[in-house]
């Protein structure tokens, strides 16, 4: 078990969050192609992912590390029925660090208990995806100049969306005001509402996207999936209410940035892409620098 591992966003204190944002900013401006020289990083993707895996592999390559791993459980011995315990025990003898994604919730926390080397959680089912949250924080810092006292709208599937859950937890360190925009079926779970209350922060639950837009500094969009609705009719009723179109940004604040964890389907119309307030692709690029920072931090190299 390794204490530097990153399993859940709540593993990091406010100070550590800020330290990592600084480090990500450093790597953006100061490439260090030798930092991971002679390090072998395992990227174990028990379920497929495009952006997260490529972003991690880019980060590892930019730091000069070497990669072993698989991109899909069907090409690993998991297919033969090997337990996560055995896979991790074994790979942790080969590699200096393991980056892993699994559909099993709690897989990374368990892996960290059996591994000889640190673990970075690249997503465990609907539970945690802390590096996404870290890159979101880095993106907010870059665009707003601060993380303190911001108004943040979280839009879409707030019930199941792990990125919005982590963002609520992390931004609760920075006196944020939350505008929680979702259909009634997909409201933020009560345990997270409670954590906002515990932090003595203001929050507004609303169903109208257009009402929230003029009020906020960050508009964080997420996808609403049809399969989340018990009644397909309910989905049909709300599906167009949470689609951002360019004209809807007309009355927004000058400093507003539109973010999205990607992949986008249709919840942000492509006419928003050319708006200077659209930030989601830069946000994805920020993920590379943030993951460089996390790799360096977890290996205690910076």
């Amino acid at each position: 078990m390794n204490n530097r591992s990153l399993i859940s966003i709540t593993d990091y204190s406010k100070e550590e969050l800020l330290e990592l944002i600084k480090l990500a900013d450093y790597f953006e401006h100061n490439p260090e192609p030798e930092l991971l020289k002679n390090k072998i990083i395992a990227t174990l993707f028990f379920e497929p992912s495009t952006r997260t895996r490529l972003s991690f592999e880019t980060a590892i390559q930019r730091l000069g590390g070497r990669i072993i791993g698989f991109t899909d459980a069907s090409t690993s011995s998991v297919q033969k029925g090997e337990s996560l315990r055995d896979t991790i025990t074994n790979v942790s003898l080969y590699a200096d660090l393991i980056v892993m994604r699994s559909p099993l919730e709690g897989a990374a926390r368990f892996a960290n208990e059996v591994s000889h080397v640190p673990i970075i959680n690249a997503g465990d089912g609907a539970n945690q995806h802390p590096t996404q949250c870290m890159l979101d924080l880095f993106s907010i810092m870059k665009t707003q100049g601060t993380l303190e006292n911001l108004n943040i709208a979280l839009v879409g599937d707030l019930k199941y969306g792990r990125t919005t859950h982590s963002l609520v937890q992390a931004m609760s360190n920075f006196n944020a005001t939350f505008f929680l925009v979702s259909p009634n079926e997909l409201r933020l779970p009560s345990s997270l509402i409670q954590s906002i209350k515990d932090a003595h922060l203001n929050y507004y639950e609303m169903t109208s996207l257009e009402e929230a837009i003029p009020l906020v500094d960050v508009l964080y969009m997420t996808r609403i999936q049809r399969e989340r609705f018990a009644d397909p009719l309910e989905y049909e009723k709300v599906k167009n209410s949470y689609v951002l179109k360019n004209y809807m940004l007309d009355n927004s604040k000058d400093n507003l940035k539109v973010m999205h964890p990607l992949p986008r389907v249709n919840e942000i119309s492509i006419d928003v892409d050319d708006n200077l307030k659209a930030y989601y692709f830069q946000q994805a690029l920020n993920g590379v620098f943030m993951r460089e920072a996390i790799l360096a931090h977890v290996l205690d190299l910076k």
Binding site: S8, L104, G106, F110, N127, Q128, S191
Partner: protein, 154 residues
């Protein structure tokens, strides 16, 4: 006087009496303690009169002294329970069970996607015991909450 009456009902020479179990939780407590598989003589009292609760449950197990951690398990369903240790018909120790801060592999996580429900991984929970809401368990692995009304004991 009341205690004397109970002892007459089923006095044990040596063993453990678990008293003041809420009647709703009695049979869950029986299950949690795996009473069914004991070979010792057991008396289970249901709907006994109680000054505290009106009615209560009681379990008496002869010649068995549970470990604290075994008894701690029932604190989840019977936080009011009293544990009485008896030797030579005398009460040697009387204590209440406290709600433990963490519990081990006695209950199942409610989340079907949790690794503990899919692979051979022992459950671990943090007990969340806030004043204004019912007790619940937070899974150490998947971080989901299992409330007592949904809890399934292993």
């Amino acid at each position: 006087m009341e205690q004397r009456k109970q002892l007459i009902v089923s006095a044990i020479e040596n063993g453990t009496v678990i008293d003041h179990i809420p009647v709703d939780s009695l049979f869950t407590a029986v299950k949690i303690l795996d009473i069914e598989n004991l070979t010792e003589q057991v008396t289970i009292g249901f709907n006994f009169g109680s000054k505290k609760f009106g009615k209560k449950g009681i379990i008496k197990v002869a010649n068995k002294f549970f470990e604290d951690k075994e008894l701690d398990k029932i604190a989840l369903v019977a936080p009011s329970a009293t544990i009485i240790t008896i030797k030579d018909f005398q009460i040697i120790e009387k204590r209440t069970v406290g709600v433990p801060k963490t519990i081990g592999n006695i209950a199942k996580c409610i989340n079907p996607k949790c690794i503990t429900n899919i692979q051979e991984v022992a459950c671990k929970f943090t007990v969340i015991d806030n004043e204004d809401e019912p007790l619940k368990l937070k899974c150490h692995y998947c971080e989901k909450y299992t409330t007592l009304d949904h809890i399934e004991f292993k």
